[in-house]
């Protein structure tokens, strides 16, 4: 079992006038066997949260409950959790075998033979049996990473805690290890809490992601929930790469139909869209994902003429950077799209694909409809 309940977790660093609230009233339940990703920008409190769960930091307030037992004040060794660190934290004076055996030696009464058997078994599974008698400095980054993972796995803990474990690897190895980690987690079914600031890891690895900012939980949900139905502007901007385009707009109800007015365009609202914003103030943020920006067709409404700044053809998609008003925005088109820098293109933001956020609080008022078959209808060039 490995169910974790985090109840009002708060961690404040410093004393006197220089207090920093690293984690603010975090509530979260992590099911047994779940793979939860903690994601957010640097300094958002994700690592501190993980360290509180591990017992490496003492929370200022709140509770951490593991399988019904309050472990808030327990030492790390009493929590039966294993952790993988960003820099691997392998003991330089020990061989890979000794590194992997160390936790078992310290926490169990197993005989040396039994410990050795378990280490060898885990090493075989991880494909590192030939490295067991080498010291960390003799291993490559990827091999060190495997030993660090093996050190966690061999303990057979209730919870795996991973603090950006792939961030020191090169891009190719990171991709490979990402899938390996997922397979391992699925194979063992051990509750895993994984900290990252990497978009791709967040979107692809976990059952759910918890998005943190400024120590506060912004949203917790499946990766696609957070992508398609962000709770607020922060989540909308943070999840997805390239990130969502945001336009600060003002509601204008003086015409026949209400519209959202931006410095460079006016976006006429249908009755359905108007119902989400009318009566909720005048300042809003219109959000459009790059892949939802379409090249306009003759019959389209809300067409906007923009200037092309740069195009980045990646083969499968092309990112086009468009000048709208004083800012640059991103559009993503399927396939190769050849647009000369400086040329003018007409684009549109389909009504069923736009997000609307409260201009003051950033709270989502309307999210785009989930992807459907009509996504195929996007204009291909």
């Amino acid at each position: 079992m490995g169910r974790i309940d985090i109840d009002g977790l708060t961690k404040v660093f410093g004393d006197g006038g220089d207090e920093i609230v690293a984690v603010d009233e975090l509530n979260c339940a992590i099911e047994d066997g779940e793979f939860l990703i903690l994601v957010g920008p640097s300094g958002c409190g994700k690592s501190t949260t993980l360290r509180c769960i591990a017992g490496l930091e003492r929370p200022t307030d709140g509770k951490i409950v593991l399988d019904g037992d309050d472990v808030t004040d327990e030492k790390p060794k009493n929590r039966n959790m294993a952790m993988v660190f960003q820099n691997y934290a392998l003991y330089p004076h020990m061989t890979a075998r000794e590194n992997m055996a160390f936790g078992l030696k310290m926490t169990t009464d197993l005989s040396t033979d039994e410990i050795d058997r378990r280490v060898t078994e885990t090493a075989e599974m991880m494909g590192i049996e030939e490295l067991l008698d080498q010291k960390p400095k003799e291993l490559s980054g990827g091999q060190q990473q495997r030993v660090a993972l093996g050190r966690a796995i061999v303990r057979d803990p209730e919870v795996f805690l991973m603090d950006e474990p792939l961030s020191n690897l090169d891009a190719k190895l990171r991709t490979q290890m990402r899938t390996e980690l997922q397979s391992l987690q699925q194979e063992f079914g051990v509750t895993t809490i994984y900290v990252t600031h990497d978009q791709t890891e967040a979107m692809t690895m976990g059952d759910r992601i918890a998005v943190l900012n400024g120590g506060e939980l912004q949203q917790i949900g499946t990766p696609l929930e957070c992508y398609h139905a962000p709770a607020n502007r922060f989540v909308a901007g943070f999840i997805g790469s390239p990130s969502m385009n945001f336009f600060d707009v003002r509601l204008d109800e003086s015409g026949d139909s209400p519209s959202l007015v931006h410095e460079a365009f006016a976006y006429d609202l249908s009755d359905e869209l108007a119902a989400d914003v009318v009566g909720r103030g005048t300042e809003f943020v219109l959000g459009v994902r790059p892949e939802d920006v379409r090249l306009a067709e003759p019959d389209d409404e809300n067409v906007l003429a923009t200037e092309v700044n740069v195009t980045e053809p990646l083969g499968d998609v092309t990112f086009v950077y468009l000048q709208i008003g004083g800012d640059q925005y991103t559009a993503s088109f399927d396939g190769d799209v050849i647009l000369d820098p400086g040329s003018t293109v007409e684009v549109t933001f389909p009504e069923d694909r736009v997000h609307l956020f409260d201009g003051r609080t950033g709270e989502a008022l309307r999210n785009r409809e989930p992807p459907s078959e009509d996504a195929e209808a996007r204009l291909s060039v």
């Binding site: 790390p76 060794k77 660190f85 934290a89 392998l90 003991y91 004076h93 310290m106 805690l161």
Partner: protein, 297 residues
């Protein structure tokens, strides 16, 4: 790397091949020349000192710089080592320096680790306090120290001398070890805690094995400081029972006469343990002085 034909190139050619590609033989010879002068300047007095201990008084005063081989003798060593006081001072020095080193390393390690890893009220003041003690000349605190030891009844005891030496060595050793611990990533402490270690286990099983070079430097510094000290022992020691080797040199001089052969021999015997210790720990010593905790590991 390309191989070169060295056949028939003579001594200079072979020397050139031995050097790396960027260094010319002329430059290398100049560097070796300067180094030879430097080390000659440094080592010649010591070589002469050792040579002098192998001469009888007559040969020493004969005016010849290098004596004939059959004139060399170990009589001075036999004479010095035959003196029971000298042997006693040697044992005393060993006891005092070893105890001082052990005490300094134990407290220096604990203090250095605490200062490196924990935030606690007064930490900065303590760090400044440690370093400020190094600004005072030893002789300045000697009398207050004597009075303190007198009050504690520790004058003319090994305990008093060991405490005095420890008091002088501890601040430097603590600072040195703290710097060394600072270079060891804290994630290793965290990993060890996750692996079931208590705070003491972390220090004992992970930090200390990684700190061998730092410990070697701190230990060597302390041992040499204690071994060579004359000033504190001269004040705190009242009888032959607690005197140390630097006093041994006095045994071979009277008010009107100095037996240079015996004094130099006593000096050489005094140097030997330090040189031996250096030989044993020099690998860690060089690493410890050159690198931080994790570099080169």
């Amino acid at each position: 790397m390309a191989t070169r034909d060295v056949g028939g190139r003579g001594l200079l050619g072979r020397f050139d091949d031995w050097l790396d590609e960027e260094t010319s033989p002329r430059r290398a010879l100049a560097v070796y020349g300067v180094l030879a002068v430097y080390f000659g300047f440094l080592l010649l007095p010591i070589a002469w000192l050792i040579l002098s201990t192998l001469m009888s008084t007559e040969v020493m005063y004969s005016g010849r710089v290098v004596p004939a081989a059959d004139e060399l003798t170990l009589r001075n060593y036999a004479h010095v080592l035959a003196r029971p006081e000298f042997r006693r001072y040697f044992v005393n020095s060993t006891v005092v320096a070893t105890a001082t080193t052990a005490l300094t390393l134990v407290f220096g390690t604990l203090a250095g680790y605490a200062l490196s890893r924990f935030e606690f009220p007064g930490r900065s003041v303590l760090l400044l306090g440690y370093i400020s003690t190094q600004m005072l000349p030893w002789v300045l605190v000697l009398i207050p120290f004597f009075l303190l030891m007198f009050e504690l009844g520790l004058v003319d005891s090994f305990t008093g001398i060991v405490l005095a030496h420890t008091a002088f060595a501890l601040p430097f050793a603590t600072w040195m070890l703290k710097g060394y611990f600072d270079d060891i990533p804290e994630s290793l402490d965290d990993a060890a805690k996750m692996d079931g270690c208590s705070q003491v286990d972390v220090l004992w099983r992970v930090i200390l094995p990684l700190s061998a070079p730092g410990m070697a430097v701190a230990g060597f510094y302390t041992f040499v400081l204690s071994w060579n000290d004359y000033l504190a022992v001269s004040v705190l020691s009242q009888t032959a029972a607690t005197r140390t080797l630097p006093f041994g040199l006095q045994l071979f001089q009277t008010q009107n006469q100095i037996n240079w052969g015996l004094v130099l021999t006593a000096a050489v015997i005094t140097m030997v343990p330090v040189i031996l210790l250096f030989a044993v720990v020099q690998r860690w010593l060089v690493e410890g002085l050159a690198n931080g905790g994790m570099k080169g590991t």
